[in-house]
Amino acid sequence: MQQRPTLTEIEINRDLLRPTLDTPMWFYGLMAFLSIFAAAAIGAFAWAINHGTGVYGLNRPVMWGFLLVNFVFWVGISHAGVMLSAILRLANAEWRRPATRAAEVLTVFALGTAAMHPLFHLGRPWRLYWSMPPGYDFGRGIWPDIRSPFVWDPTAISTYLTSTALFVGLLLIPDLAVLRDHSSGMRQRMYSAMSLGWRGNTRQWKLQIIAGFLLSALILPVFVSVHSIVSWDFAVQIAVEGWNATIFAPYFVIGAVHSGVAGVISILALLRWMFKWENYIRDDHFDALARLMIVVAVAWFYFFIIEFMMGFYPNEEPELSLRNLQLTQWPFNAAFIVFALTSFFIPVPLWLFRKVRRNVALMFWTCVLVNIGMWLERFLIIIPSLMRKQVLTFNWGSYNPSPIELILVGGSFAMVFLGVLTFVKFFPIIPLADAKEGEIMATEIRVGKVMVPAAYREE
């Protein structure tokens, strides 16, 4: 954790503003490539609106399919983004500096994409209006029942999305001032307006720092509540054995942290490769994040085991049948093996080795594995649970995802990455002020014949 180059403010500006002010051509090519998939998803959604939700592979009793699996997956990714940023800020962790904004931006785009999935699933997006307070029809006495988790869920997600987007925007103001000072013409006018006349006086910096801590402290409880509420979409359904579990809220929250931190590590690795930011996103950062991942993964695995074991414990036939379906029936048994290997048994032992933790490529691919596993985890929770024949099931079909659903799922990944890249095109993804503050606070001491960074002076 000791090697650390010394950088001037001019170098920091030059390096971190390069994607914004001097965008390479390949960047546009990558955006165009991702746009094809995003456009395909939009086309698939338009097809679904035009032809009705019959174009999905949903069939009684499996009325929640890949779109809802993907919804929970993206909500999970989004949650750990801000969790990581907030915890590191509150703990004053020095290695937070390059990771915070990437985590927050990933949160915004992942959550925005997640929020689209219920609309995809319902097929009539305009009806969303009547589920929100401005659309309540008091004249005819029609509005949603607040006892339903489907009212809690959009309330929580819209709170989280609004808060996170504004949080990113507020902490972006000093960096927008840097862009204002380093651009010209139309672009300068845009950044001038967005930086709100920021001068960088002591008062403004003080409030920025307090805002970072205060908003982190306020957003953390929202983060915990949102994934708890998403879990209650499932847990309050008493008729579905696999879902009706009291442990679901903490289990979902820790699962979100597991997949989300892995998502942030993947994004950081991509940013480092794309923009050659070895001086900013250093091996130390991956090392520290991997240590965090070990703790999170073990905690998540504990909750997974408890949730699974408690299913067996009452020795009830419906629950045992569900576990039988998940563990022994094709294709769920194969999905279960892949899930267990990729989400825990392959990456975690690898992260125990320092060489792996400091190897960016290995960290990237192990984190991709984690997210493959976590997607399958949500698949195994949702689909097999619904496939069980219930007392009142009068029509029993099977579920196969349709091409439209597959395009929407694939397109959602393109949308999130396209969103992050669009942000990178217009704004610094590594906070300039944080990077500069890190340089100011750095203290070097001599140990033998080398100068190494000592403890950092913290607020």
């Binding site: 949603p144 000072d181 306020l218 409880p221 500069k436």
Partner: protein, 170 residues
């Protein structure tokens, strides 16, 4: 006190601190320090900035909680159907929505509070130099009429890279 703003631009922190000390020795302790990155408070001997940011989230939280209770209780009371002999007002789901409303109110008002307390937005940037975002330190002080030359000399004596005077009538 009538006067004009004057800004000294310094490359080194120590030079800026020296200039700030001289300003205070000359009775001008109300100066503004402009930097491109956050320095520890008081690093230049400037006055500590007071604010009331902590009140904002409390007010916002109270407002958000009230609106959430109003919406959740209002919709249930406006269509009162007794289900399973349960009370009309279902408190657990009301708590969930009230919690989100409270947090949203607190966060929104904190963000508004930070912008307000930071004295933003500003239509005009005032006395400023883009080099500040490259690591230079700006020291801005309102010099009494006739004292601008003295402050200019004081800044230059402290190795100021540049000294700027607010245009007349700005």
């Amino acid at each position: 006190m009538a006067g004009r703003s004057i800004m000294g631009l310094f490359k080194e922190v120590d030079d800026a601190v020296e200039a700030a000390d001289k300003l205070k020795e000359n009775g001008m302790d109300d100066f503004e320090v402009l930097t491109g990155s956050p320095y520890p408070e008081g690093a230049f001997g400037e006055k500590v900035a007071n604010h009331r940011l902590y009140v904002w989230p409390l007010v916002g939280a109270a407002l958000g909680f009230s609106i959430a209770i109003l919406v959740t209780a209002g919709t249930q009371l406006a269509y009162p159907i007794v289900t399973g002999s349960k009370p009309i007002l279902a408190l657990p789901p009301m708590f969930i929505i009230a919690y989100e409303g409270t947090m949203l109110g607190a966060i929104l008002s904190t963000i508004i509070g930070v912008i307000f307390e930071s004295r933003l937005p500003r239509a005009k940037l005032g006395l400023y130099d883009p080099r500040i975002t490259e690591g230079y330190i700006g020291l801005v002080v309102v010099a009494p009429d006739g004292d601008t030359d003295r402050v200019d000399a004081l800044f230059k004596a402290a190795n100021a890279t540049d000294v700027k005077l607010e245009p007349v009538g700005a």
